[in-house]
């Protein structure tokens, strides 16, 4: 037992001595390997990780995903540290791989945040545009309402004007009817093809053989003028007639003078002179036989031929 222990101790002592002798060599080998690591080129994974981090740091992640970017930096530092100590080992490559993904995650998160902000801004824009649209629609409806109101007012105004005009016309017709009625009391009124013919008896207007109007004639002519003005007309022809007694030339002259007297008087009673003319017809176109006193009296007359305004 004792011998065995002594043998073991001897082996151990030899082993220890051998190890001691090998220490400088092992140390040199280790240092050499470390030096080799330090000068070795960085693996592709580490270079990719560095690039990915640099790109992420330049992008929106710097402002919008700083926590993720920091995680990426920590991962990259770990990979770098591994490379510094172990060289391009599998561990370094794995750490660099993870660091690259972390950088890409940071970039993606930055991009996502940016897009979400864009969407939020667009949503806000949508709402304000919607409000703008509603206001515009409201304004359009208001404008339409105002236009409708104005149109209604116009319609009401037109209705009122029409009613006023109708009333005025009715009033005028009433006045005209009244004037005609009063005219029919002093003269014969007849509608013929040449127009409305108002016949006044010569004995009422003039003294025998004269062409000056009698005072009473003026009252009658006033009524005639009033009726003419209220009825309206296009033109008036005043025609003088005599009976067949006496000289035809004298009769012609007298009839013209009488017609002119009537015409001149009517122009003083609002009948425009340019619309009224006088004609002497003498004994022509008798309306009654000239062989009786009554017939001759009927033939001595003045006819006022009115061309009506309408048609």
């Amino acid at each position: 037992m004792k011998a065995a222990m002594t043998r073991t101790r001897t082996i151990t002592t030899h082993a220890f001595s051998a190890l001691r002798a090998a220490v400088p060599a092992l140390f040199a080998l280790g240092l050499g390997s470390l030096m080799a690591c330090g000068s070795a080129a960085a693996p592709q994974e580490l270079m990719d990780a560095r690039t990915a981090y640099a790109e992420a740091a330049k992008g929106p992640a710097a402002d919008l995903a700083p926590a993720q970017l920091d995680t990426a930096k920590t991962s990259l530092d770990a990979a770098q540290k591994s490379f510094d100590s172990d060289g391009p080992s599998q561990k370094t490559k794995d750490l660099a791989y993870v660091a690259q993904r972390r950088a890409e995650i940071a970039a993606a998160e930055g991009g996502r945040e940016k897009a979400e902000r864009k969407r939020a801004a667009a949503d806000k824009d949508f709402k304000s545009t919607e409000i703008e649209g509603l206001e515009k629609t409201k304004e359009q409806l208001e404008a339409e309402r105002r236009a409708r109101e104005a149109a209604n007012q116009d319609v009401n105004k037109t209705k009122a004007e029409l009613a006023t005009e109708k009333a005025a016309r009715a009033e005028a017709e009433k006045r005209a009817a009244a004037a005609l009625a009063s005219l029919q009391e002093i003269a014969k009124v007849k509608e013929e093809a040449r127009g409305v013919v108002i016949t006044l008896s010569g004995s009422v207007l003039f003294a025998t053989g004269k062409s000056d109007l009698l005072p009473i004639a003026q009252d009658k002519l006033n009524q005639v003028a009033k009726a003419l003005v209220s009825q309206g007309f296009k033109a008036i022809v005043v025609q003088g007639y005599t009976d067949s007694r006496g000289n035809a030339t004298d009769n012609q002259t007298l009839s013209l003078k009488r017609a002119q007297s009537v015409r001149d008087y009517l122009t003083t009673q609002s009948i425009p002179p340019e619309k009224i003319t006088a004609e002497g017809e003498g004994a022509s176109r008798p309306v009654a036989p000239n062989d009786t006193a009554d017939g001759r009296a009927e033939n001595r007359r003045v006819e006022i031929v009115v061309t009506p305004d309408k048609g």
Binding site: T12, F16, L19, R20, Q90, K91, D94, L95, Y97, V98, R101, R102, E104, I105, A108, E109, G111, R112, E113, A115, E116, K118, R119, A122, D123, D125, F126, T129, E130, E132, G133, K136
Partner: protein, 118 residues
Amino acid sequence: MNARTWVYACFCSSLLACGGAAVPQDSLTAAQADVKGAEVGGAADDPKAALHLKLAKDQIELAQKQIKDGDNEAAARTLDRAQADAELALSLAKEQKAQGDASEANDQVGKLRKEISK
């Protein structure tokens, strides 16, 4: 500590370092959960995200093989890679969706403006 004890300690610690790494069960579970999360998040619908989703799945498969072979330390690092790929797949999918939503929102604003200006 004498020289003999020093050598013994070094020998023992090196033995522990070589074969002592535990099975990275937590990392495996976390990586699998991240893959699931990326799938639910729509990573399969975006080509770039789908690529990282596939890488994550492949690496989980590799890690499982490494665990089976007893190389737990390598498996743990492979699972770190898988997790990073799965997380990136989800981030890319989310970014893609956010960009799509933003673009759609902009289109809506454009359409509305056009409608209003009629």
